[in-house]
Symmetry: C2
Subunit: 164 residues, 2 copies
């Protein structure tokens, strides 16, 4: 197995072709990680991930501490995979004038995909259904990417060299 | 799609049948999440995950702050999946008399599986190969499970009821 660090542009291409990732946040030293559905976007020099969820533990924690880490993986075989690790900053896009443009952008990008696969939101929706007294709050958010690294494993040394 | 929280025993059965998970740790409010290879074990009332890695960012961070979170997922289709979220405490198993028994236990369990798939360790190994001056330190560790939750999504309401 040959492992190489990929270029920054190649890292972003992994984000562009994947929707399911794992989002980690932390409160008072305790990390928390859950699968999420994210859409990648680039605006000039800024790289963003847009997401939609409902009010719950991760939103409460990210409101308190916006530092996050996101992991992507593409596994073809045990010795053939790509992993991407993103460090970023959470920003909520509330339904107000200041955030209207970005919220509409997030909505449009997320809507391109028929199915918003996210255990968090659907589980929450189910919980709300069981406990109608709980508020159901839709949350649009973005993650500003501050750092990204990507590793490729392959059984072909030539591919590993090309990826470098 | 129907979503249910599964029983504690069903949560542990997901850990028992999977090896690849995502491990999250945090330092000074910054979370970090990477794929890892873990083996589940139960000793009386204690539930553990054993892992092997090499010295790098996650070990340095977990030495400083042992609070971790581990995520497992089994995705059959966009509307059929299982996710498990584990909160736990990292403990290193150094090569000394005090930890000999647990280190051997970890080694034996991990050795049952032909391939230790872990991007972190192999990437590190590759890096060491490129920079022979860097130390290569094998690290056995365990995670003491303190909390576990598991959600099942299915398109069959009867399965969801059975899982509850």
């Amino acid at each position: 197995m040959h492992i190489k660090e990929m270029s920054r542009e190649e890292c972003f291409s992994v984000l562009a072709r994947n929707r399911v990732a794992r989002l980690s946040c932390a409160r008072q030293g305790q990390p928390y990680v859950v699968p999420v559905y994210l859409v990648y976007d680039r605006v000039a020099d800024e790289h963003l991930l847009y997401g939609f969820t409902t009010l719950g533990q991760k939103v409460e924690w990210m409101r308190e501490n916006p530092l996050v880490c996101v992991e992507y993986e593409e596994v073809s075989a045990l010795d053939q995979w790509v992993t991407v690790i993103v460090s970023g900053r959470y920003e909520e896009l509330p339904d107000n004038d200041e955030h209207r443009h970005e919220r509409l952008r997030a909505h449009a990008l997320l809507q391109q995909h028929a199915f918003w696969w996210e255990p968090g939101s659907t589980a929450r929706a189910a919980a709300v259904h069981r406990h109608p007294a709980q508020p159901f709050e839709a949350v649009f958010y973005c993650i500003h990417i501050t750092r990204i690294t990507c590793h490729l494993a392959t059984d072909d040394p030539a591919s590993a060299r090309r990826a470098h």
